[in-house]
């Protein structure tokens, strides 16, 4: 299994706070990898560095062994890395259909002037985009709400819309930031299937999740961080029995806690 994404000692500081420090791990092609840790451990910050929202001030991020550290978000997207957000970021003024179609941006071939002129080739592409959008809406069970305003829908549905928006781009890697947050039990159980489905369609998955039902059941590999540093790494069974992980989550007595790092 070859390394798709590799973090090599990345770190970032905000003011005096070292939010992530010397973090290294590898995501292999076709894997489902989880990044877990207590609240405030720096998980979303890691995602923001991978996707170019933050520029790390130490270490390297490698994609197929090429250095992509500090690339702007749209260049990261162009490589085939797509993400969702912990706080769902759908376009508030748009329908579900329009939101999902937005994921087609990188797959469109039309030039701006072709669009302004409304040339036949551009109109054809528009029809293809619409078809592709309808297909993915069907696949993720969203066709009945296609014309609804996306942000007016229940949380679980919004998460699916955001997921559809990334999948339609046909990425190589999707990064899911707490995909189970705000889901009810039924939706959360279904999420596992969805994640397996994504992997089976040839897309590698990296996720942050608190829901241990999801983390323990779907992942091939788990990376645990606390206070911005890696404290453990391994498969579900290893992590479940790791003393440091248990302490990070359940806490230790008094002021010994900082030793955990």
């Amino acid at each position: 299994m070859s390394a798709l994404l590799e973090l090599a000692g990345i770190g970032i500081s905000f003011g005096g706070l070292r939010a992530v420090d010397d973090l290294s791990f590898t995501v292999g092609e076709g894997q489902i990898v989880a990044l877990i840790g207590p609240n405030g451990a720096g998980k979303t910050t890691v995602f923001n560095m991978i996707t170019g929202v933050y520029r790390p001030n130490g270490g390297k991020i490698l994609w197929y062994n090429h250095d992509i550290t500090g690339f702007a978000p749209h260049r990261i997207a162009r490589l085939g890395i797509m993400r969702t957000f912990q706080t769902i970021r759908l376009f508030s003024d748009m329908s579900v259909f329009e939101n999902v179609r937005a994921g087609c941006h990188l797959r469109t071939r039309q030039h701006w002037w072709q669009g302004l002129a409304g040339l036949p080739s551009q109109r054809r592409e528009e029809a293809e985009i619409a078809d592709r959008t309808s297909d993915i809406l069907k696949r993720l069970d969203l066709e009945t709400v296609a014309d609804e305003r996306a942000i007016a829908l229940p949380y679980g549905v919004q998460r699916r819309v955001e997921l559809a928006r990334t999948l339609i781009a046909n990425p190589k890697l999707v990064i899911l930031d707490e995909p189970a947050a705000g889901l009810n039990d039924r939706e959360s159980a279904k999420l596992n299937e969805t994640i397996f489905g994504i992997r089976d369609s040839g897309i590698t998955v990296l996720l942050v999740e608190h829901d241990m039902n999801v983390v323990m059941n779907v992942t091939d590999h788990i990376v645990v961080i606390n206070f911005g540093r890696k404290i453990a790494e391994g498969n579900a069974a290893t992590i479940r029995n790791n003393q440091q992980v248990i302490e990070a989550y359940l806490g230790r007595d008094d002021d010994e806690t900082e030793e955990a790092a």
Partner: protein, 310 residues
């Protein structure tokens, strides 16, 4: 699909075609008012590309209108170019200035960008007043423009100029409608609503916004040529900061990103005052009250953009 937008577009096309017959019914004063409306409608639509669609606070848009007008006046009066030959120069020149100006400041936050565009407007007016390069004629501007000629026909009468302006308005309306239905137009909306989300989907914010600026400026440049021809003289006072504010307000009051809204706003600003000519000095007073009322009661504009269209 398009079930919501198609009827509006069809009605718009019919209305536009109907308006082409206006010169048959109107006296010459009203024909020229209708022609001026078409010109300002193009400028307002071009402002809408930048402000309403891309969400960029451009309060110096009269500059690009002015560049178009001056390009035509200088080349026609100073160098004897035919009017129609100056048209591409006006469009491309304004678009280039827009792109070059926008490139370094485009990542500024809304309020900072707004101040920068005001600065550009001030510099432009000052440069024109000071007879830039001995070409722009100072405060009096450049008088005595010729008329366009097409296939040997002089577009000279009020009616002919009206048709000239309205045909080009039709072209611009078509472009604006196409903008709503192409990836560029959508990318602008993504950026306006959530730049981070748009970027992570692969939208190149900088390039797309500069393109919007250039497109808006180019269309304003086109309107500048029409304006110069219509009043046959070009002077700095037509492109001052208050003109930019008016254009800005037309888009906000009419409805951002809404073609009918922007046309309605333009009509309120430039046609309605002519109907109540005896109250003309109250134009800004009335429009000012309308601005306040709309912002309080109907912040999305008089005729907001249709939502949830496919």
């Amino acid at each position: 699909m398009m079930r919501r937008t198609l009827p509006t577009a069809a009605i718009g096309a019919v209305l536009w075609a109907g308006c082409l017959a206006l010169p048959i019914f109107l006296d010459s004063a009203w024909i020229s008012i209708a022609a001026i409306f078409a010109i300002y409608a193009i400028v307002a639509l071009s402002q809408d590309v930048v402000l309403g669609r891309a969400g960029l606070y451009d309060m110096g848009h009269a500059v690009y209108f002015g560049i178009g007008a001056y390009a035509t006046a200088v080349l026609n009066v100073g160098f004897g170019w035919p009017i129609l030959a100056t048209l591409p120069v006006a469009i491309v020149g304004a678009a280039l200035v827009g792109a070059v100006f926008a490139a370094p400041i485009i990542r500024l936050r809304g309020d900072y960008l707004l101040v920068a565009t005001i600065g550009l407007n001030a510099i432009f007016v000052l440069a024109m007043r000071n007879d830039l390069g001995g070409l722009t004629g100072g405060s009096d501007g450049i008088p005595g423009l010729g008329v366009p000629s097409l296939f040997g026909l002089q577009i000279e009468s009020q009616s002919a100029l009206f048709w000239f302006d309205w045909v080009l308005l039709g072209v611009v309306l078509l472009v604006m409608r196409n903008l709503d239905r192409c990836e560029l137009g959508r990318a602008l909306r993504y950026l306006k609503q959530d730049q981070l989300a748009a970027s992570t989907l692969g939208v190149d914010a900088r390039r797309t916004k500069i393109l919007a600026f250039a497109l808006g400026a180019g269309l304003a440049g086109l309107a500048g040529t029409l304006f110069a021809v219509q009043i046959s003289t070009v002077s700095p006072s037509s492109f001052v900061f208050t003109e930019s504010v008016t254009l800005f307000a037309i888009v906000i009051v009419g409805g951002q990103g809404s073609i009918p809204g922007v046309l309605l706003g333009t009509a309120l600003m430039f046609v309605v005052p002519q109907i109540f000519r005896e109250f003309a000095q109250y134009r800004y007073f009335i429009f000012g009250i309308a601005m306040i009322a709309v912002m309080v009661l109907r912040p999305q504009g008089l005729w907001p953009r249709a939502r949830l269209a496919r």
